[in-house]
Point group: C2
Chain length 215, copies 2
Protein backbone atom coordinates (compact mmCIF):
# COMPACT_ATOMS: atom_id res chain seq x y z
CA UNK A 1 0.00 0.00 0.00
CA UNK A 2 1.31 3.35 -0.91
CA UNK A 3 1.97 5.78 1.86
CA UNK A 4 -0.90 8.21 1.84
CA UNK A 5 0.19 11.67 0.84
CA UNK A 6 -1.27 14.56 2.75
CA UNK A 7 -3.53 16.32 0.32
CA UNK A 8 -3.81 19.99 1.11
CA UNK A 9 -7.54 20.62 1.40
CA UNK A 10 -8.95 23.72 -0.19
CA UNK A 11 -7.52 26.28 2.16
CA UNK A 12 -9.27 29.65 2.48
CA UNK A 13 -6.50 31.13 0.36
CA UNK A 14 -7.72 33.30 -2.45
CA UNK A 15 -6.58 31.49 -5.53
CA UNK A 16 -6.40 33.20 -8.91
CA UNK A 17 -8.13 30.13 -10.36
CA UNK A 18 -11.82 30.70 -9.83
CA UNK A 19 -14.34 27.91 -9.63
CA UNK A 20 -17.48 27.93 -11.72
CA UNK A 21 -19.65 29.30 -8.91
CA UNK A 22 -17.06 31.93 -8.12
CA UNK A 23 -17.11 33.06 -11.73
CA UNK A 24 -20.88 33.25 -11.64
CA UNK A 25 -20.62 35.34 -8.51
CA UNK A 26 -18.10 37.64 -10.17
CA UNK A 27 -20.45 38.15 -13.04
CA UNK A 28 -23.37 38.87 -10.73
CA UNK A 29 -21.25 41.35 -8.77
CA UNK A 30 -20.26 43.19 -11.90
CA UNK A 31 -23.81 43.33 -13.11
CA UNK A 32 -24.84 44.70 -9.75
CA UNK A 33 -22.11 47.32 -9.87
CA UNK A 34 -23.37 48.46 -13.26
CA UNK A 35 -26.89 48.82 -11.89
CA UNK A 36 -25.74 50.81 -8.89
CA UNK A 37 -23.63 53.17 -10.98
CA UNK A 38 -26.50 53.56 -13.41
CA UNK A 39 -29.17 54.24 -10.81
CA UNK A 40 -27.01 56.91 -9.26
CA UNK A 41 -26.51 58.57 -12.62
CA UNK A 42 -30.23 58.32 -13.39
CA UNK A 43 -31.12 59.85 -10.03
CA UNK A 44 -28.60 62.63 -10.39
CA UNK A 45 -29.37 63.65 -13.98
CA UNK A 46 -32.59 61.98 -15.00
CA UNK A 47 -32.88 58.94 -17.24
CA UNK A 48 -32.63 60.71 -20.60
CA UNK A 49 -29.79 62.98 -19.62
CA UNK A 50 -27.73 60.13 -18.18
CA UNK A 51 -25.80 58.40 -20.95
CA UNK A 52 -24.54 54.84 -20.71
CA UNK A 53 -21.17 56.14 -21.84
CA UNK A 54 -21.07 58.22 -18.65
CA UNK A 55 -22.22 55.31 -16.51
CA UNK A 56 -19.48 53.17 -18.03
CA UNK A 57 -16.90 55.90 -17.49
CA UNK A 58 -17.87 56.17 -13.83
CA UNK A 59 -16.92 52.50 -13.48
CA UNK A 60 -13.78 52.82 -15.58
CA UNK A 61 -15.17 50.55 -18.29
CA UNK A 62 -16.58 51.04 -21.79
CA UNK A 63 -20.15 51.07 -22.96
CA UNK A 64 -20.10 47.70 -24.73
CA UNK A 65 -19.19 46.12 -21.42
CA UNK A 66 -22.52 47.29 -20.05
CA UNK A 67 -24.23 45.69 -23.00
CA UNK A 68 -22.38 42.49 -22.14
CA UNK A 69 -24.26 42.42 -18.82
CA UNK A 70 -27.57 44.03 -19.73
CA UNK A 71 -29.64 44.11 -22.89
CA UNK A 72 -30.25 47.81 -23.37
CA UNK A 73 -30.71 51.07 -21.54
CA UNK A 74 -34.34 50.49 -20.69
CA UNK A 75 -33.54 47.12 -19.18
CA UNK A 76 -30.98 48.81 -16.97
CA UNK A 77 -33.67 51.16 -15.72
CA UNK A 78 -36.24 48.41 -15.30
CA UNK A 79 -33.87 46.34 -13.19
CA UNK A 80 -33.13 49.34 -11.00
CA UNK A 81 -36.79 50.09 -10.52
CA UNK A 82 -37.51 46.45 -9.77
CA UNK A 83 -34.92 46.39 -7.02
CA UNK A 84 -36.61 49.35 -5.38
CA UNK A 85 -40.07 47.85 -5.82
CA UNK A 86 -38.91 44.57 -4.29
CA UNK A 87 -37.75 46.37 -1.17
CA UNK A 88 -41.13 48.04 -0.85
CA UNK A 89 -42.94 44.80 -1.49
CA UNK A 90 -40.99 43.03 1.25
CA UNK A 91 -41.74 45.85 3.67
CA UNK A 92 -45.43 45.61 2.85
CA UNK A 93 -45.48 41.83 3.33
CA UNK A 94 -43.69 42.13 6.65
CA UNK A 95 -46.10 44.80 7.89
CA UNK A 96 -49.16 42.90 6.73
CA UNK A 97 -48.18 39.79 8.66
CA UNK A 98 -47.06 41.61 11.81
CA UNK A 99 -49.13 41.80 15.00
CA UNK A 100 -50.66 45.00 16.36
CA UNK A 101 -53.39 47.45 15.46
CA UNK A 102 -53.92 48.71 11.93
CA UNK A 103 -52.30 51.97 12.93
CA UNK A 104 -49.23 50.27 14.35
CA UNK A 105 -48.67 48.13 11.30
CA UNK A 106 -49.26 51.03 8.95
CA UNK A 107 -46.80 53.12 10.87
CA UNK A 108 -44.15 50.42 10.78
CA UNK A 109 -44.59 50.07 7.06
CA UNK A 110 -44.50 53.80 6.41
CA UNK A 111 -41.23 54.18 8.28
CA UNK A 112 -39.64 51.57 6.09
CA UNK A 113 -41.32 53.00 2.98
CA UNK A 114 -39.89 56.44 3.65
CA UNK A 115 -36.41 55.03 4.20
CA UNK A 116 -36.49 53.03 0.98
CA UNK A 117 -37.47 56.22 -0.86
CA UNK A 118 -34.21 57.78 0.28
CA UNK A 119 -32.15 54.82 -0.95
CA UNK A 120 -30.63 54.74 -4.43
CA UNK A 121 -33.04 52.17 -5.86
CA UNK A 122 -36.07 53.45 -3.97
CA UNK A 123 -35.48 56.99 -5.23
CA UNK A 124 -35.44 55.58 -8.72
CA UNK A 125 -38.92 54.11 -8.27
CA UNK A 126 -40.25 57.54 -7.35
CA UNK A 127 -38.35 59.49 -9.96
CA UNK A 128 -39.10 57.19 -12.86
CA UNK A 129 -42.10 58.31 -14.84
CA UNK A 130 -44.03 55.76 -16.78
CA UNK A 131 -43.67 57.81 -19.95
CA UNK A 132 -40.01 56.88 -20.26
CA UNK A 133 -40.80 53.16 -20.24
CA UNK A 134 -42.04 50.98 -23.06
CA UNK A 135 -45.73 50.18 -22.89
CA UNK A 136 -45.01 46.68 -21.56
CA UNK A 137 -42.67 47.79 -18.82
CA UNK A 138 -44.97 50.64 -17.87
CA UNK A 139 -47.84 48.23 -17.34
CA UNK A 140 -45.76 45.97 -15.13
CA UNK A 141 -44.41 48.98 -13.25
CA UNK A 142 -47.87 50.32 -12.58
CA UNK A 143 -49.10 46.91 -11.45
CA UNK A 144 -46.29 46.52 -8.93
CA UNK A 145 -46.89 50.02 -7.56
CA UNK A 146 -50.57 49.25 -7.24
CA UNK A 147 -49.75 46.21 -5.12
CA UNK A 148 -47.93 48.43 -2.65
CA UNK A 149 -50.77 50.92 -2.65
CA UNK A 150 -53.30 48.15 -2.10
CA UNK A 151 -51.38 47.01 0.97
CA UNK A 152 -51.41 50.56 2.36
CA UNK A 153 -55.13 50.83 1.81
CA UNK A 154 -55.71 47.50 3.48
CA UNK A 155 -53.79 48.60 6.55
CA UNK A 156 -55.71 51.86 6.70
CA UNK A 157 -59.01 50.01 6.35
CA UNK A 158 -58.08 47.65 9.14
CA UNK A 159 -57.05 50.57 11.31
CA UNK A 160 -60.41 52.22 10.75
CA UNK A 161 -62.13 48.95 11.61
CA UNK A 162 -60.22 48.50 14.86
CA UNK A 163 -60.56 52.17 15.78
CA UNK A 164 -56.85 53.00 15.66
CA UNK A 165 -57.34 55.20 12.59
CA UNK A 166 -59.99 57.87 12.02
CA UNK A 167 -62.71 57.13 9.42
CA UNK A 168 -60.93 58.91 6.55
CA UNK A 169 -61.37 58.47 2.81
CA UNK A 170 -59.03 55.51 2.32
CA UNK A 171 -58.10 56.31 -1.25
CA UNK A 172 -57.11 59.89 -0.59
CA UNK A 173 -55.42 59.00 2.65
CA UNK A 174 -53.12 56.62 0.78
CA UNK A 175 -52.40 59.29 -1.84
CA UNK A 176 -51.62 61.89 0.81
CA UNK A 177 -49.34 59.54 2.73
CA UNK A 178 -47.58 58.43 -0.42
CA UNK A 179 -47.01 62.02 -1.48
CA UNK A 180 -45.66 63.14 1.87
CA UNK A 181 -43.26 60.18 2.04
CA UNK A 182 -42.26 60.15 -1.62
CA UNK A 183 -41.18 63.75 -1.59
CA UNK A 184 -37.86 63.19 0.23
CA UNK A 185 -36.77 61.20 -2.82
CA UNK A 186 -36.44 64.63 -4.43
CA UNK A 187 -34.88 66.67 -1.65
CA UNK A 188 -33.17 64.43 0.87
CA UNK A 189 -29.39 64.68 0.65
CA UNK A 190 -27.71 61.42 1.76
CA UNK A 191 -24.60 63.44 2.54
CA UNK A 192 -26.55 65.88 4.71
CA UNK A 193 -26.86 65.83 8.51
CA UNK A 194 -30.25 64.06 8.65
CA UNK A 195 -30.25 60.28 8.39
CA UNK A 196 -33.07 58.69 6.39
CA UNK A 197 -34.34 57.13 9.62
CA UNK A 198 -34.62 60.53 11.31
CA UNK A 199 -36.38 62.08 8.35
CA UNK A 200 -38.72 59.12 8.10
CA UNK A 201 -39.75 59.34 11.75
CA UNK A 202 -40.46 63.06 11.61
CA UNK A 203 -42.44 62.81 8.41
CA UNK A 204 -44.46 59.78 9.47
CA UNK A 205 -45.37 61.44 12.76
CA UNK A 206 -46.65 64.51 10.96
CA UNK A 207 -48.34 62.64 8.14
CA UNK A 208 -50.22 60.37 10.56
CA UNK A 209 -50.86 62.99 13.25
CA UNK A 210 -51.71 65.96 11.06
CA UNK A 211 -51.40 69.58 12.11
CA UNK A 212 -54.67 70.02 13.95
CA UNK A 213 -54.31 70.11 17.76
CA UNK A 214 -55.44 66.86 19.45
CA UNK A 215 -56.59 68.57 22.62
Amino acid sequence: MSKSVAITPALPLTSPFRSKSEREQDRADKREAVLLAAVRMFNARGYHAASLDDVAASLGISKPTIYHYLGNKEQVLVECVNRGLSMLREAADAAMSAPGSGHDRLRAFLLRYACVNMDDFGRCVIRTNEEVLSMDSAIRFRARKREIDAAVREMITEGIADGSIAPVDVRFASFALAGALNWPARWHDPAGPLSPQQVAEKLVDIALGGLIPHN
Copy 2:
Protein backbone atom coordinates in the same frame (compact mmCIF):
# COMPACT_ATOMS: atom_id res chain seq x y z
CA MET B 1 -69.67 125.31 -44.86
CA SER B 2 -69.69 121.88 -46.32
CA LYS B 3 -72.37 119.54 -45.25
CA SER B 4 -70.75 117.32 -42.66
CA VAL B 5 -70.38 113.78 -43.87
CA ALA B 6 -71.25 111.04 -41.42
CA ILE B 7 -67.94 109.48 -40.54
CA THR B 8 -68.37 105.89 -39.59
CA PRO B 9 -66.68 105.55 -36.22
CA ALA B 10 -64.49 102.51 -35.56
CA LEU B 11 -67.21 99.91 -35.45
CA PRO B 12 -66.54 96.71 -33.50
CA LEU B 13 -66.02 94.98 -36.83
CA THR B 14 -62.88 92.89 -36.98
CA SER B 15 -60.77 94.55 -39.61
CA PRO B 16 -57.89 92.75 -41.28
CA PHE B 17 -55.80 95.89 -40.72
CA ARG B 18 -54.43 95.56 -37.22
CA SER B 19 -53.29 98.50 -35.13
CA LYS B 20 -49.91 98.52 -33.44
CA SER B 21 -51.33 97.40 -30.10
CA GLU B 22 -53.37 94.70 -31.79
CA ARG B 23 -50.22 93.41 -33.46
CA GLU B 24 -48.43 93.40 -30.13
CA GLN B 25 -51.33 91.45 -28.67
CA ASP B 26 -51.17 88.97 -31.55
CA ARG B 27 -47.52 88.42 -30.88
CA ALA B 28 -48.10 87.95 -27.16
CA ASP B 29 -50.91 85.49 -27.88
CA LYS B 30 -48.69 83.45 -30.17
CA ARG B 31 -45.91 83.42 -27.65
CA GLU B 32 -48.36 82.24 -25.03
CA ALA B 33 -49.67 79.52 -27.31
CA VAL B 34 -46.13 78.26 -27.80
CA LEU B 35 -45.59 78.13 -24.04
CA LEU B 36 -48.82 76.26 -23.46
CA ALA B 37 -48.09 73.70 -26.16
CA ALA B 38 -44.57 73.31 -24.82
CA VAL B 39 -45.54 72.88 -21.19
CA ARG B 40 -48.03 70.20 -22.14
CA MET B 41 -45.39 68.35 -24.11
CA PHE B 42 -42.89 68.71 -21.25
CA ASN B 43 -45.42 67.41 -18.75
CA ALA B 44 -46.42 64.52 -20.96
CA ARG B 45 -42.94 63.34 -21.97
CA GLY B 46 -40.42 65.08 -19.77
CA TYR B 47 -38.23 67.99 -20.81
CA HIS B 48 -35.47 66.04 -22.53
CA ALA B 49 -37.79 63.70 -24.39
CA ALA B 50 -39.98 66.56 -25.67
CA SER B 51 -38.44 68.05 -28.81
CA LEU B 52 -39.20 71.54 -30.02
CA ASP B 53 -39.92 70.03 -33.42
CA ASP B 54 -42.78 68.13 -31.81
CA VAL B 55 -44.01 71.20 -29.95
CA ALA B 56 -43.99 73.12 -33.23
CA ALA B 57 -45.79 70.31 -35.02
CA SER B 58 -48.50 70.28 -32.36
CA LEU B 59 -49.19 73.92 -33.27
CA GLY B 60 -48.89 73.36 -37.01
CA ILE B 61 -45.80 75.52 -37.27
CA SER B 62 -42.07 74.90 -37.73
CA LYS B 63 -39.32 74.97 -35.15
CA PRO B 64 -37.71 78.24 -36.28
CA THR B 65 -41.00 79.97 -35.57
CA ILE B 66 -40.60 79.00 -31.93
CA TYR B 67 -37.14 80.54 -31.98
CA HIS B 68 -38.73 83.70 -33.36
CA TYR B 69 -40.70 84.02 -30.12
CA LEU B 70 -38.33 82.53 -27.58
CA GLY B 71 -34.56 82.36 -27.30
CA ASN B 72 -33.92 78.68 -26.78
CA LYS B 73 -35.35 75.53 -25.30
CA GLU B 74 -34.29 76.30 -21.76
CA GLN B 75 -35.93 79.71 -21.93
CA VAL B 76 -39.16 78.05 -22.96
CA LEU B 77 -38.98 75.87 -19.86
CA VAL B 78 -38.00 78.75 -17.60
CA GLU B 79 -40.96 80.83 -18.76
CA CYS B 80 -43.32 77.93 -18.15
CA VAL B 81 -41.94 77.35 -14.67
CA ASN B 82 -42.15 81.06 -13.91
CA ARG B 83 -45.81 81.17 -14.81
CA GLY B 84 -46.49 78.38 -12.35
CA LEU B 85 -44.38 80.00 -9.66
CA SER B 86 -46.17 83.30 -10.11
CA MET B 87 -49.53 81.64 -9.48
CA LEU B 88 -48.18 80.12 -6.29
CA ARG B 89 -46.64 83.39 -5.23
CA GLU B 90 -49.92 85.24 -5.69
CA ALA B 91 -51.74 82.60 -3.70
CA ALA B 92 -49.20 82.94 -0.91
CA ASP B 93 -49.47 86.73 -0.85
CA ALA B 94 -53.25 86.56 -0.79
CA ALA B 95 -53.23 84.06 2.08
CA MET B 96 -50.66 86.01 4.07
CA SER B 97 -52.71 89.18 3.97
CA ALA B 98 -56.07 87.51 4.63
CA PRO B 99 -57.82 87.60 7.99
CA GLY B 100 -58.38 84.55 10.21
CA SER B 101 -56.33 82.15 12.28
CA GLY B 102 -53.03 80.69 11.10
CA HIS B 103 -54.82 77.45 10.39
CA ASP B 104 -57.51 79.12 8.30
CA ARG B 105 -55.05 81.04 6.18
CA LEU B 106 -52.81 78.02 5.74
CA ARG B 107 -55.77 75.96 4.67
CA ALA B 108 -56.90 78.56 2.14
CA PHE B 109 -53.42 78.70 0.69
CA LEU B 110 -53.04 74.93 0.53
CA LEU B 111 -56.28 74.55 -1.38
CA ARG B 112 -55.05 76.96 -4.00
CA TYR B 113 -51.57 75.40 -3.96
CA ALA B 114 -52.97 71.96 -4.66
CA CYS B 115 -55.12 73.27 -7.52
CA VAL B 116 -52.19 75.06 -9.14
CA ASN B 117 -50.22 71.81 -8.98
CA MET B 118 -52.86 70.21 -11.16
CA ASP B 119 -52.68 72.99 -13.74
CA ASP B 120 -50.39 72.79 -16.78
CA PHE B 121 -47.91 75.38 -15.54
CA GLY B 122 -48.09 74.35 -11.90
CA ARG B 123 -47.40 70.73 -12.79
CA CYS B 124 -44.35 71.92 -14.63
CA VAL B 125 -42.98 73.55 -11.47
CA ILE B 126 -43.24 70.24 -9.65
CA ARG B 127 -41.95 68.07 -12.45
CA THR B 128 -38.98 70.23 -13.36
CA ASN B 129 -35.82 69.12 -11.63
CA GLU B 130 -33.12 71.63 -11.06
CA GLU B 131 -30.58 69.40 -12.78
CA VAL B 132 -32.06 70.17 -16.19
CA LEU B 133 -31.59 73.93 -15.73
CA SER B 134 -28.47 76.00 -16.16
CA MET B 135 -26.76 76.94 -12.92
CA ASP B 136 -28.19 80.46 -13.11
CA SER B 137 -31.77 79.43 -13.74
CA ALA B 138 -31.54 76.72 -11.10
CA ILE B 139 -30.52 79.27 -8.50
CA ARG B 140 -33.40 81.57 -9.35
CA PHE B 141 -35.79 78.62 -9.44
CA ARG B 142 -34.71 77.45 -6.01
CA ALA B 143 -35.00 80.97 -4.60
CA ARG B 144 -38.57 81.38 -5.80
CA LYS B 145 -39.57 77.98 -4.42
CA ARG B 146 -38.00 78.91 -1.12
CA GLU B 147 -40.18 82.01 -0.98
CA ILE B 148 -43.29 79.88 -1.21
CA ASP B 149 -41.96 77.50 1.40
CA ALA B 150 -41.12 80.40 3.70
CA ALA B 151 -44.71 81.64 3.45
CA VAL B 152 -46.01 78.19 4.38
CA ARG B 153 -43.71 78.03 7.36
CA GLU B 154 -44.77 81.46 8.47
CA MET B 155 -48.42 80.49 8.37
CA ILE B 156 -47.70 77.32 10.32
CA THR B 157 -45.73 79.27 12.89
CA GLU B 158 -48.54 81.76 13.29
CA GLY B 159 -51.03 78.92 13.66
CA ILE B 160 -48.94 77.36 16.39
CA ALA B 161 -48.75 80.75 18.14
CA ASP B 162 -52.50 81.32 18.02
CA GLY B 163 -53.26 77.73 19.00
CA SER B 164 -55.00 76.75 15.76
CA ILE B 165 -52.16 74.39 14.82
CA ALA B 166 -50.45 71.79 17.02
CA PRO B 167 -46.83 72.48 18.06
CA VAL B 168 -45.26 70.47 15.23
CA ASP B 169 -41.78 70.70 13.76
CA VAL B 170 -42.40 73.53 11.31
CA ARG B 171 -39.79 72.47 8.79
CA PHE B 172 -40.97 68.90 8.50
CA ALA B 173 -44.59 69.93 8.53
CA SER B 174 -43.99 72.11 5.48
CA PHE B 175 -42.17 69.24 3.74
CA ALA B 176 -44.94 66.80 4.52
CA LEU B 177 -47.65 69.17 3.31
CA ALA B 178 -45.73 70.03 0.18
CA GLY B 179 -45.20 66.36 -0.61
CA ALA B 180 -48.81 65.40 -0.07
CA LEU B 181 -50.04 68.26 -2.28
CA ASN B 182 -47.33 68.04 -4.93
CA TRP B 183 -48.00 64.41 -5.63
CA PRO B 184 -51.20 64.95 -7.67
CA ALA B 185 -49.00 66.71 -10.23
CA ARG B 186 -47.88 63.20 -11.10
CA TRP B 187 -51.12 61.25 -10.94
CA HIS B 188 -54.09 63.57 -11.37
CA ASP B 189 -55.76 63.17 -14.74
CA PRO B 190 -57.42 66.41 -15.89
CA ALA B 191 -59.70 64.31 -18.08
CA GLY B 192 -60.73 62.11 -15.16
CA PRO B 193 -63.90 62.41 -13.08
CA LEU B 194 -62.33 64.31 -10.16
CA SER B 195 -61.96 68.05 -10.51
CA PRO B 196 -58.78 69.63 -9.13
CA GLN B 197 -60.91 71.42 -6.56
CA GLN B 198 -62.37 68.16 -5.27
CA VAL B 199 -58.99 66.48 -5.08
CA ALA B 200 -57.53 69.52 -3.35
CA GLU B 201 -60.20 69.57 -0.66
CA LYS B 202 -59.86 65.88 0.12
CA LEU B 203 -56.10 66.00 0.27
CA VAL B 204 -55.93 69.17 2.35
CA ASP B 205 -58.40 67.74 4.86
CA ILE B 206 -56.32 64.62 5.29
CA ALA B 207 -52.96 66.37 5.26
CA LEU B 208 -54.05 68.84 7.94
CA GLY B 209 -56.18 66.45 9.97
CA GLY B 210 -53.98 63.37 9.87
CA LEU B 211 -55.17 59.80 10.31
CA ILE B 212 -55.21 59.60 14.08
CA PRO B 213 -58.68 59.74 15.66
CA HIS B 214 -59.41 63.13 17.28
CA ASN B 215 -61.71 61.88 19.99
